[in-house]
């Protein structure tokens, strides 16, 4: 019985998020290609974030956590949003869902070997998520920070039925029992609240089963990537291949299997925000703009570096809003930031008593080993480099320019984290370079895919054959 309530508990925020997105006014119909997958993917991010906001509100209002207090309002959102969506597209909804089901097995436009390749790849992706799901169900909370600074809060809040403050040791003594302590008292409450909700739905504390939201983030990210790429006119098979790349990053899989860290949920929300920007650059829909802001906010509420990642969206927006001069403006901003980093590395400023100096201590050898020799990233960085070189002439031209600016800003951030280890303490919660890379990796894959497509389109224009249509 508890597994059924857990399943329902995990489903409710997902449905609520999807319903909210469907209820928002939009010109794109659900039946348009990629739309359902996009709504399903980003719907989870929105729903999960909404769930935690509601739990924070309940705690503020002094209402204890419980299945009724949390679940019923979310269910109401799901039903209400669903009703609004139904009213707007009553005729289209069943057909769209049926069509999506059919397309899963036989996507339109694919035949013969391509269709079998689609099915095989889909099965391969499903097998991975099955294995990860089994691992999530059985593996007790394992990685270090998960039990020393994240789930600590979940355990206390679940048992007490409300959010209570966590403080560092000095404040803990001063609080005289009203505050709790762990190794990360200032971390945002979003992820622990998701664990609390899973525990409430389950009806007991189980530090394996409470981690299902990590699996949901991974699945939702795959759906969002597929949906967004389809919206951006990528073929079904190509979009599935890119989705497979995103879902098969070994380190991302580890973060599902050994759930409890913030990096994968942050990566998912950040990637969702970037994809929403990309959609917005083509659709100019209010819904995509709102979604960008919500997901950027969610990323910032998952972990402190999310604020910096959210800031990397700004150059993309600038490049999209002013296609002619935007790239130059964005590039100038990033050049100024790089210059600022170099100045801080070369000087020893002191402002308001705080030293402002960054030690330049790059660990290029370790980075190269991690990116190119070890198994964390499959062949991602080889592919990203190759795609960037192949598409170099298209990088700063529409439609790729906004994404290029975002990726350039993200790469600058990673560069800063690698070259100036002090920045890892200042802006990245002491995240290791590999985990910071994970936060960026899905976006890097999408960028490589779209850059490669730009190269393919250039080849198609230059060549005489028409085989490229399938690429």
């Amino acid at each position: 019985m508890s597994l059924v309530t857990l399943f329902l508990g995990l489903l409710v925020p997902w449905l609520a998020g999807m319903s909210l997105l469907l209820a928002m006014p939009a010109q794109r119909r659900l039946s348009e290609r990629g739309e359902l997958a996009w709504i399903a993917g980003t719907g989870y991010f929105v729903g999960a974030f909404l769930l935690t906001l509601w739990m924070r509100a309940l705690s503020r209002m002094g209402i204890d956590f419980g299945g009724f207090a949390i679940g019923v309002p979310l269910l109401a959102v799901a039903v209400g949003g669903g009703y609004l969506a139904w009213r707007r597209a009553a005729n289209a909804l069943p057909g769209t869902i049926r069509g999506a089901g059919r397309a899963l097995l036989s996507p339109p436009g694919l035949s013969g070997v391509a269709r079998w390749a689609w099915r095989a790849l889909l099965l391969w992706v499903a097998l991975r998520f099955l294995l990860l799901g089994v691992e999530v169900s059985w593996q007790p909370l394992f990685p270090w920070n998960a039990w020393s600074q994240w789930a600590t809060k979940a355990r206390v809040w679940f048992e007490l039925g409300r959010i209570v403050p966590f403080a560092d040791s000095a404040d803990w003594f001063a609080a005289d029992g009203t505050a709790y302590f762990d190794a990360g008292p200032h971390l945002p409450p979003t992820l622990p609240l998701l664990q609390v909700w899973a525990s409430i739905a389950l009806g007991r504390w189980d530090d394996a089963l409470m981690n299902w939201p990590w699996w949901q983030f991974a699945v939702a990210l795959s759906l969002a990537v597929y949906g967004a790429l389809r919206t951006l006119d990528m073929s079904a098979l190509a979009a599935l291949v890119v989705t497979f790349f995103v879902s098969s990053l070994p380190l991302a899989n580890v973060h599902v299997a050994l759930a409890g860290y913030a990096d994968l949920p942050l990566a998912a929300c950040y990637a969702g925000a970037v994809l929403a920007v990309l959609r917005w650059t083509t659709t100019r829909e209010l819904r995509d703009a709102v979604l960008t802001l919500v997901l950027a906010l969610a990323a910032a509420q998952i972990k402190a570096p999310g604020i910096v990642w959210a800031a990397t969206l700004v150059p993309g927006f600038i490049a999209a809003l002013w296609p002619r001069r935007g790239v130059k403006i964005a590039a100038a901003i990033m050049a100024a930031i790089l210059f600022g980093l170099l100045v801080l590395a070369q000087t020893s400023l002191t402002l308001l008593g705080y030293p402002f100096h960054l030690a330049f201590e790059p660990a290029w050898g370790a980075l190269a080993e991690s990116y190119f020799l070890l198994g964390s990233w499959n062949l991602l960085w080889y592919g990203a480099l190759a795609a960037t070189l192949l598409a170099w002439r298209d990088l700063v031209l529409p439609p790729l320019a906004p994404l290029t600016m975002i990726v350039f800003a993200g790469a600058t951030l990673l560069f800063a984290l690698v070259a100036f280890p002090g920045t890892r303490v200042a802006i990245a919660d002491q995240t290791s370079v590999n985990r910071a890379t994970l936060q960026f990796a899905p976006v890097a894959i999408v960028f490589a895919a779209l850059a490669f497509r730009a190269f393919a389109l250039r080849c198609a224009r230059a060549g005489t054959g028409s085989e490229l249509a399938s690429a």
């Binding site: 070997v113 391969w124 097998l127 991975r128 294995l131 089994v134 691992e135 059985w138 593996q139 007790p140 909370l141 394992f142 990685p143 270090w144 039990w147 020393s148 600590t152 355990r155 206390v156 007490l160 040791s169 803990w172 029992g177 302590f181 190794a183 189980d206 530090d207 394996a208 190509a238 790349f245 098969s248 070994p250 899989n253 580890v254 299997a257 050994l258 860290y261 991690s370 190119f372 070890l374 198994g375 964390s376 499959n378 062949l379 592919g383 190759a386 192949l390 590999n434 985990r435 490669f452 190269f455 393919a456 080849c459 230059a462 005489t464 054959g465 028409s466 085989e467 490229l468 399938s470």
Partner: protein, 384 residues
């Protein structure tokens, strides 16, 4: 032919070429030697100098002799021509120690030959002796020389003499790639991709093959004037390379799931924790929790190891627990108050006088405390 098929074909050929090129570079002599690998277990090894014991099929080197040396030796009798490498299967090998492979031959029985050994990630890399002029005649004995420092014991599971034929080397590489890499404390930061030490990491081989195939595809597309087919070929090459690397990862993931299932499947949450690596600590904390009051109590968790401090605290929540995540520090006695609890787990320097019911640590003034739970190396105290 369809560009996807061409891409696939080019990648397959390029992969074979790259493998072949690697073997040409590393096979020291005969590609298909008649001899097969000879292995010796830890039980067949003996100490000539230094100290240790055989434990769980491994020879544990625990101490060096008075001159700071240990020698682990083995009598052998094989032709040096047939075997060109010696591989010690050892783990936790000290990185800063001086390690050498020693051997004697029937050609010059009085001469003791040696080559330095390299340590990587706590393992000994195989010593290739094909080009060593002293690797000659019949090998009558081999040994491992260890000269300090030896910060802790290390384990030798055995030693192997390898002919280093092409098939054996290729097999070794495949075994390295597909060696089970179970989840550890560092998995959350990095995935090695097979064995800790690899002579040829799989991503490098696949990337090289993909690059070669891509170059061939470029040539093909330009020479045939079908530039539009190039992206499809390149995409197929890259997807094929990615898929191969992913097969390795999914196989590893499947083995991890099996290992997790064997350990935890069918157990409830409590049983899973008892079966986990910190099961002993969990069992002790269960006893502690039984003695703590119903409502959240102020609890101080101390242990020498940061892992036990943090894990102990984690199992103690929702009690209001304080632990030091970074330093092995005891709480200042002035900050303790009556009714507080102190959980001590494998922490040296904490002394309790049961007669006087006084507790002290690290030279601090004794305080009044009641022993509530006691086990070897672990205790719960209530501060009075």
């Amino acid at each position: 032919m369809h560009p996807h098929r061409v891409g696939l074909f080019l990648f397959a050929v390029a992969l074979a070429v790259c493998l072949l090129a690697y073997l040409v570079a590393v096979v020291p002599g005969n590609w298909f030697p008649g001899a097969s690998t000879m292995t010796w277990s830890a039980a067949e090894l003996s100490f000539t100098r230094g100290f240790g014991v055989v434990e769980n099929d491994a020879l544990v080197v625990t101490a060096l002799d008075a001159t700071g040396t240990a020698v682990i030796s083995l009598d052998t009798d094989f032709r040096s021509n047939d075997y060109r490498a010696i591989a010690w299967n050892a783990i936790d090998v000290p990185e800063r120690a001086n390690l050498r492979l020693l051997w004697r031959t029937d050609y010059a029985p009085g001469k003791l030959n040696s080559v330095p050994l390299t340590v990587a990630s706590g393992r000994l890399l195989p010593a290739s002796l094909a080009r060593d002029p002293n690797w000659i005649g019949r090998i009558r004995g081999i040994a491992l020389l260890v000269q300090g420092p030896l910060p802790g014991p290390f384990r030798i599971r055995g030693v192997a003499a390898k002919p280093l034929g092409a098939i054996e080397i290729a097999g070794d590489r495949v075994r390295e790639w597909f060696k089970f890499e179970g989840f550890t404390g560092t998995s959350i930061d990095s995935v090695t991709g097979g064995d800790d030490v690899q002579d040829l990491p799989m991503p490098v081989l696949l990337a090289a093959a993909a690059l070669l195939a891509a170059a061939a595809a470029f040539l093909l597309a330009y020479r045939s004037g079908r530039i539009a087919s190039l992206p499809a070929m390149l995409a197929t090459i890259f997807v094929a390379a990615w898929l191969l690397q992913d097969v390795r990862w999914v196989v590893n993931l499947g083995r991890q799931v099996r290992a997790t299932a064997l350990r935890y499947a069918g157990h409830d949450s409590r049983e899973r924790h008892l079966a986990a690596e910190d099961g002993q600590l969990y069992a002790f904390i269960e006893k502690v929790r039984a003695k703590l009051p119903q409502g959240p109590a102020r609890v101080f968790m101390v242990a020498d190891a940061p892992y036990f401090r943090g894990r102990g605290a984690y199992h103690l929540y929702p009690h209001n627990v304080l632990f030091d995540p970074y330093l092995n520090a005891m709480p200042a006695t002035s900050r303790l108050r009556s009714g507080d609890f102190l959980v001590v787990y494998q922490r040296r320097g904490v002394q309790y006088d049961p007669g006087a019911e006084r507790l002290r640590w690290d030279g601090s003034a004794p305080i009044s405390a009641e022993l509530v739970v006691s086990e070897p190396g672990a205790a719960l105290f209530r501060i009075r």
